[in-house]
């Protein structure tokens, strides 16, 4: 009886445990991984800024609210070291963090655009008409058929030996 229960539980676990993702060639995964990896790097920077800023604001608050770098503090919370002052500080910090992050992203996008422009120059292209392209394509196909016929003949010769 116990063995039955154990086997049943084992079967349920095996079915409902998270499955591995469907198989894909390694190239696609590597490409995705590098793409996301590259995207993530620039966002690492703002964190030390955050901590520094937190320290600054706190010291300003403790010293009594006559600091020049905090112009938008509501008057009710500037006098005392209260929890609402901390909330306001945190709110402004997150705003500042989002702003920095947005700037970084636009900067990264601009860099990518520049890189794209640089790699596209000089814009190389042939001004072939479709007529010429079809002619060349037909020549290539004729060559391929001749090559295939030749290879077939060689194979039949080899098989006949």
């Amino acid at each position: 009886m116990k063995l039955n229960v154990l086997l049943g539980v084992g079967a349920l676990l095996a079915v409902f445990l998270p499955r591995s993702a469907d198989c894909r060639p390694a190239d696609a995964d590597a490409a995705v991984a590098t793409a996301t990896g590259q995207r993530r790097l620039p966002l690492m920077l703002p964190r030390p800024l955050l901590l520094l800023h937190l320290g600054e604001e706190f010291s300003l608050r403790l010293g009594g609210g006559s600091a020049a770098s905090s112009p938008s503090i509501p008057p009710s919370s500037s006098s005392s070291f209260s929890s609402s002052a901390v909330n306001v500080a945190l709110l402004r910090l997150t705003q500042r963090l989002l702003q920095v992050r947005a700037e970084q992203q636009t900067r990264a996008e601009q860099q990518e655009e520049e890189k794209e422009k640089r790699s596209e120059e000089p814009p190389i292209s042939l001004d072939l008409t479709f007529h010429l392209l079809r002619e060349v394509l037909q020549m290539a196909r004729a060559e391929q058929q001749a090559q295939q016929a030749d290879s077939n003949r060689r194979m039949m010769d080899t098989a006949g030996k």
Partner: protein, 322 residues
């Protein structure tokens, strides 16, 4: 062992193997060798020596595997070789014996697709890589040889060589592609079936001839699960479910700059046909990734007398369609 216990054990083992059922990667074991498989190992080794070789020209089109060597007899400043394969193949290019002077302005660039008159095939919307990643520059890459693998059955190489007797060797190999997307047809007549299994991609089949296209089978929207609600999708129209087939015509290779001629978004089992009198005729399958989509069509070349008449007051760039 009792029968009940054996049954329990088998059930347990079967449920363990259910975790391995979701793999979709298809392995190709070179099953398409045909006559080749009849040869013994010795005979195969003999025939391997006959790999196709020929010189590469400044303007060239390659449709076979092999080694192609270019040697400049005089400064060649604008050369390109187009490479095309069968629809279900991709192209692997490799440079070797390269003898050029990058600092003097020589370059060799491999491109994943074709560029014609500034237009790129596949277009930016249809290709999965950004444009700068589709170019492989020999002079910029650190390794002594450069390789590139295309994502579809066409590829290109651009080169410029200033000094005589410089050159390189290009190795072309074809690899199998089980679900081809973005195909350039080699011939003006033929038939093809495009399948897009649960992938969010837009795929184009491009024919650089004026053709009459007949859609023989169109199956959009076999749902990912076994839900019994396919009737609803028929009425939402082409923009609803996000999966449809469009026919395009134009005078360039870039499908995003072509004119849509027809949209089809419900499955049909009869024939739908269209004469497209354009330099480039394209069948494009737009998939949202929710379904398995399949479209089958045939096409044949339109003779000069069969081309649709151009209308009066038509746009200059628009080609005639019937």
């Amino acid at each position: 062992m009792s029968v009940a216990l054996r049954a329990q054990l088998f059930l347990f083992l079967i449920s363990l193997s259910s975790r391995m059922g979701l793999s979709r990667y298809i392995e190709d074991n070179e099953a398409a060798d045909g006559l080749y498989s009849l040869l013994s190992l010795d005979q195969k080794r003999e025939s391997d020596d006959f790999i196709f070789r020929r010189p590469l020209r400044c303007l060239d089109m390659l449709a076979t595997d092999g080694y192609f060597t270019f040697v400049a007899s005089r400064p060649q400043l604008a050369c390109a070789a187009f490479i095309i394969a069968e629809p279900s193949e991709v192209i692997s290019l490799e440079l070797s014996d390269v003898n050029i002077d990058c600092s003097a302005g020589d370059f060799i660039k491999m491109f994943d697709g074709w560029v014609l008159k500034g237009e790129k095939f596949p277009s930016r919307q249809d290709h999965q890589l950004p444009l700068n990643q589709r170019y492989t520059d020999y002079c910029s890459s650190a390794a002594p040889g450069a390789t590139s693998r295309s994502s579809q059955n066409v590829a290109m190489i651009f080169f410029r060589i200033h000094s005589p007797d410089s050159g390189f060797t290009l190795t072309v190999k074809k690899l199998h592609n089980p679900f081809p997307c973005n195909i350039m047809s080699q011939s003006p007549e033929g038939s093809f079936t495009m399948v897009m299994p649960h992938q969010r991609r837009n795929c184009s089949f491009s024919i650089i001839y004026p053709v009459e296209i007949r859609l023989t089978d169109l199956s959009l929207g076999q749902a990912i699960s076994n839900e019994l609600s396919p009737q609803r999708q028929v009425w939402t129209g082409c923009s609803g479910s996000g999966d449809y087939v469009e026919l395009l015509g134009g005078n360039g290779v870039d499908t995003s700059m072509m004119f849509p001629i027809a949209d089809l978004c419900f499955s049909l089992s009869g024939l739908a046909q269209m004469k497209i009198g354009c330099d480039n005729s394209v069948v494009r399958l737009v998939s949202s990734g929710n379904y398995i989509n399949r479209v089958s069509f045939q096409y044949r070349l339109l003779e000069q007398r069969e081309l649709p008449k151009t209308r009066e007051n038509a746009l200059d760039n628009f080609c005639s369609v019937e």
